[in-house]
């Protein structure tokens, strides 16, 4: 029994060996001329972002592809680009950070309970990493996102799903004053970016907002603006 299996295996391998030998011998000048410059290879990703909070609209989401670097680190000062995003929701500087190979902004605010799918792609270079950031706009300087998740070996048609937690940029004191909250909670009366750093000046996890209903009498925020982790659900789908 065993022996016959071995024989079959041997026999079946033999023609393959012969064939491959034939191919080598048959390679002709014609085939060499058929070699053409390859089409540009495009690596594309669809990133779907869902806002899991009760009452925190999200600023337009920045999605970036990169090969190196991180966009924030616990215990380090926030970059100016991150500070601007976290205090005002303006993602333009973030999208132009030095290590960004391709960046895409969402089309607008994502309201609580809502989702948006953002497409980002890069030509001729398979990106190693993806990052994403957005501000919780009814806060002083809270943001959430993904910091350098690896895309290596993600096949076309496959996806990664995850949830994110919220961070505090550490660049603006969490006063929750009407003059400091850019989101709808202040009806447009609040300031966004201010280059003065009057807080810890180190990125950490956000402690949540206090609100007037929970003991901060000078807060413009109410119980409706409170949030807990996680704050986003994200799916990264490689489409090409």
């Amino acid at each position: 029994m065993k022996r016959s299996i071995n024989n079959i295996a041997f026999v079946s391998l033999l023609p393959l060996a012969l064939l491959s030998g034939c191919n080598d011998n048959d390679s002709s000048p014609m085939e060499v001329e058929e070699v053409v410059i390859p089409e540009p290879v495009v690596y594309s990703y669809e990133v779907t972002v869902s806002n899991l909070t009760y009452g925190q609209p999200l600023s337009p989401v920045a999605v970036v592809l990169h090969d190196e670097g991180q966009f924030w680190q616990i215990g380090e000062s926030a970059s100016v680009a991150l500070e601007v995003l976290a205090e005002s929701g303006d993602n333009s500087s973030f999208l132009m950070e030095e290590n960004v190979l391709a960046g895409q902004s969402g089309t607008g605010i994502i309201m609580p309970g809502m989702s948006e799918t953002i497409e980002v792609s890069l030509t001729d270079n398979e990106p190693a990493l993806l990052s994403l950031a957005t501000m919780l706009v009814n806060t002083n300087d809270a943001f959430t996102g993904i910091n350098a998740i690896t895309l290596t070996n993600l096949p076309v048609g496959e996806s990664i799903s995850l949830t994110t937690r919220s961070y505090d940029a550490g660049t603006e004191k969490n006063s929750e004053l009407i003059s400091t909250i850019p989101g709808p909670a202040s009806s447009g009366a609040g300031e966004g970016f201010n280059e003065i750093r009057d807080d810890l000046d180190m990125v950490g996890m956000h402690a949540g907002v206090v609100s007037v209903d929970d003991g901060l009498s000078t807060s413009v925020l109410t119980q409706a603006h409170k949030f807990d982790n996680p704050t986003l659900h994200i799916t990264i789908n490689r489409t090409n």
Binding site: L200, M205, A207
Partner: protein
């Protein structure tokens, strides 16, 4: 004959994997922006040992750690159980957003990793990792840790230097950013079992009010710490 040989080989491999000594590089990051960690205790221990278990009463040694930051009792307990121990890797307080690193060589049979440190300013809050099974495969493993309440002291949120077991109050607010003169948030600790901390309340009156804590500084959301373990 062949099957017996195979089984013997498997048994040997499993034994070798489960009890082998390992060399670990451990990094601990305080993820909060307003809470300090008192001296951290890390131990690799056997399956019969634990520093704490949710839903159970705190040991006296855990109470000493959670109320006053004193890790000596828990450390002695670990040593008695032949655990591999690292005491106070940050050489004092681990400030908000700061990171400390250490190494830990484990001996045969010490397959579980645990960590505790008191959170200041709290009454009896601590960050904890309870008996995480150390992977046998070399690699880098990242975990996030939650804040627990030892269930041994009422969370009155009064800073009065009280750090001994059974003494009410919070020992200190190392950031120097807390208030005084609070009336107290509560006199009761109705859940006497180790549980997930409900968070501090704080208030906006640093000269009185219910709490000596600042509600814009001393609150947190989980997770409160990150631990990265490199298994070499």
């Amino acid at each position: 004959m062949k099957i017996n040989t195979l089984m013997a080989g498997l048994t040997f491999a499993a034994t070798a994997l489960s009890s082998q000594a390992q060399q670990l590089d451990i990094t601990v990051t305080n993820l909060t922006q307003g809470i300090y960690y008192t001296p951290i205790l890390i131990g690799a221990h056997n399956a019969d040992t634990s520093l704490f278990s949710t839903g159970e009463m705190a040991s006296e040694s855990l109470q000493m750690m959670a109320e006053g930051g004193d890790i000596s009792g828990l450390s002695m307990m670990l040593s008695t159980a032949n655990a591999d121990v690292v005491e106070n890797p940050a050489e004092g307080l681990l400030a908000p957003t700061m990171t400390t690193t250490t190494t830990l060589d484990t001996t045969d049979g010490n397959m579980y990793l645990s960590l505790v440190a008191m959170m200041l300013p709290t009454n009896d809050g601590f960050v904890g990792l309870d008996s995480w099974m150390i992977p046998t495969e070399a690699g880098t493993y990242t975990l996030t840790l939650n804040a627990y309440d030892a269930g041994t002291e009422a969370n009155d949120e009064i800073i009065n230097g009280g750090g001994s077991p059974g003494v009410a109050g919070i020992p200190a607010a190392p950031g120097g950013d807390a208030g005084t003169g609070a009336m107290g948030v509560t006199m009761n600790e109705e859940n006497g079992y180790i549980h997930i901390h409900r968070g501090s309340l704080g208030d906006d009156d640093l000269a009185g009010g219910k709490s000596d804590l600042d509600n814009t500084v001393h609150r947190w959301l989980n997770p409160v710490a990150r631990i990265t373990v490199v298994v070499n």
